[in-house]
Amino acid sequence: MSLSLKPQTLEEIERAITHYPVKRSATLPLLHLIQEDVGHISDESIEWVAQKLELQPINVYEVVTFYPMFRRKPIGRRHVKVCRTLSCALMGGYKVCDEFKKEFGVELNEVSADGEVTIEFVECLASCGTAPVVMIDEQLHEKVDTAKVRALVAKIRSEAKTKGASSV
């Protein structure tokens, strides 16, 4: 089984395993590391983790399917997570979500046609005092209104362009 992980990921995987007296405990850390490296958790990744931790693939599979943050399929290059829960909803979270969908022309949990974004509605991000909030990749954006959505969308688009240009 070959999973092409970056050397740094492999190093971090070895280190994570040493943090626990029982190997199985490293299941979540390994899945995070692999997902951060390759973008999602494939069948192959599940088997790889199982072998690494001396588990059955089902032990890993049942973890992957339970936790919302682990995904079985690739998503867009940018991951827009809009908070759905009450405090954000009270301050316009649903509108913010609609705005993102409209701007990118994409439905929830799908990948936009250009492969650039996936929008997800997530539960409370523990920043209710600055509602509504949105997390784009690992960055939290607070008090998001329509104007801010447009600015964020423009930023994502411009970053996509510069990335595209430099990689040609």
Binding site: H19, T85, L86, L90, C124, A126, G129, E138
Partner: protein, 450 residues
């Protein structure tokens, strides 16, 4: 009476200009001095201080911290673990976030004092997956503390050693429940364990005695060790000691986090004086005082409570002091300190539908009442919102909710049914009128909640 001043013990340095989250800054501000003094004491003395302090857990249940520690099975011969609950997953709660991001060493110092006091050699910080930066900050802070011998094999030359590792969750609310959290560290689905026999203090992580405490609780331990249990117990009010961080969100002018002595500020002072009152042209309608699972209060209702001498007193919602015992006496709870405010623009059926969607999504599915009940409560409120509300829906919701609590493995049974029970009980008129109100034309600035 105007609101008292904040008393910032835990949030002393939060948002302070120039205060950074690195070791040098923490040490410059007196950091780790309490740890140094603590490791020179007898561990039992620290435990006694925490008992005397009256500190109650800030994670949700308000369980006395010293009592929790004294339930630890110290004779099993097995290692004792500390698990730090940094899952911060109860909607409406946003306090641990700021400690982790802006003052991680305060938490680490609290952890190390707790570990020393309880002979713990290994601690895990369980941080929610949605805090990737927080996890990195903690890891860096732990590495810094290790270099300075505040964490590691030989702490401050005492021969006592203790390690801390960070364990990231992955987006599931139920990982906040302490035994679900333990399963999650063990690399499994976070299915809460049945108690008895799986009380963490006896059979916790890897079936070893385990302390599970919230981030804020452990920060308080540092301050208790600093000032002594006796002195700490004088802060706040009897049986509701210390300070606590109140997180206010929703429909107020100034949402945010405010730290007060427990019970020294009332709901009215908090929402009107501190948070600036309702938004322009609006009035308060309901408030959830302790995280989304706490029962909602309706502005205008009153509570008649017994005094110690047998007489009674009557409180409005605004009169309620924000402490554990009074909120409990008023039929709700202080919970995690998350105060969610709803004004007259909110239809309470919509608000409940929003919460029900959360609980249905987050039930782990082990117990039939919680799995099916949360789903049916969601389906009923969603149906109402989507145009098919019936006059009997309030009663139907209530009957589902009443079949969950007390019949489940974990307290999620209560958490998922209390919103429905309380919304229907207190805003029954809105549930009855909903078939009409929902069909009426909406104002253009009305916000969707579901």
């Amino acid at each position: 009476m105007p609101a008292p001043e904040q008393r910032r013990l835990i949030f002393k340095h939060i948002d302070e200009p120039g205060y950074t989250n690195d070791l040098a800054c923490y040490v410059r501000n007196g950091g780790y001095e309490v740890l140094k003094k603590s490791v020179a004491r007898k561990p039992e003395e620290i435990v006694n201080d925490v008992k005397k302090s009256g500190l109650r857990g800030r994670g949700g249940a308000g369980f006395p911290c010293g009592v929790k520690w004294s339930l630890l099975d110290r004779k099993s011969g097995k290692p004792i673990y500390l698990v730090v609950n940094a899952d911060e997953s109860e909607p409406g709660t946003f306090k641990d976030r700021y400690i982790i991001h802006q003052d991680p060493h305060q938490l680490i110092e609290g952890i190390m004092i707790t570990c020393f006091a309880n002979n713990v050699k290994q601690a895990y910080i369980y941080i929610r997956g949605e805090f990737p930066e927080g996890a990195r900050i903690l890891e860096k802070a732990i590495a810094e503390a290790r270099t300075a011998n505040f964490v590691g094999p030989n702490i401050l030359g005492t021969g006592y050693g203790c390690e801390i590792y960070v364990h990231r969750g992955a987006g599931a609310y139920i990982c906040g429940e302490e035994t679900g959290l333990i399963e999650s560290i063990e690399g499994k689905r976070p299915y809460p364990r049945i108690k008895p026999p799986y009380f963490p203090a006896v059979l916790g992580l890897y079936q070893c005695p385990t302390i599970v405490n919230n981030v804020e609780t452990l920060c308080h331990v540092k301050h208790i060790s600093e000032m002594g249990g006796e002195a700490y117990s004088k802060i706040g009010t009897p049986n509701n000691t210390g300070t606590r961080i109140l997180c206010v969100s929703g429909h107020v002018q100034r949402p945010g986090y405010y730290e007060y002595e427990v019970g020294k500020i009332t709901m009215g002072q908090l929402l009107n004086d501190v948070c600036g009152g309702p938004l322009p042209g609006r009035t308060f309608k309901g408030v959830i005082p302790g995280g989304s699972s706490a029962k909602v209060l309706r502005f205008g209702e009153t509570f008649t409570l017994k005094n110690k001498d047998g007489s009674t007193r009557t409180l409005t919602v605004e009169d309620i002091p924000m402490d554990f015992d009074t909120l409990a006496a008023c039929g709700t709870m202080g919970g995690s300190g998350g105060v969610i405010v709803m004004d007259d623009s909110v239809n309470m059926v919509d608000a409940l539908a929003n919460l029900n969607a959360f609980y249905a999504h987050e039930s782990c599915g082990q117990c039939t009442p919680c799995r099916e009940g949360s789903l049916w409560m969601k389906k009923i409120t969603a149906r109402m919102v989507h145009g098919d509300a019936r006059a009997e829906d309030g009663a139907l919701l209530n009957s589902v909710a009443n079949q969950i609590a007390g019949r489940t493995i974990c307290a999620m049974g209560e958490a998922c049914s209390w919103p429905t029970m309380s919304f229907v009980a207190k805003f029954g008129d809105e549930f009855k009128a909903y078939p009409e109100t929902n069909n009426a034309p909406k104002s253009p600035d009305a916000l969707e909640l579901v």
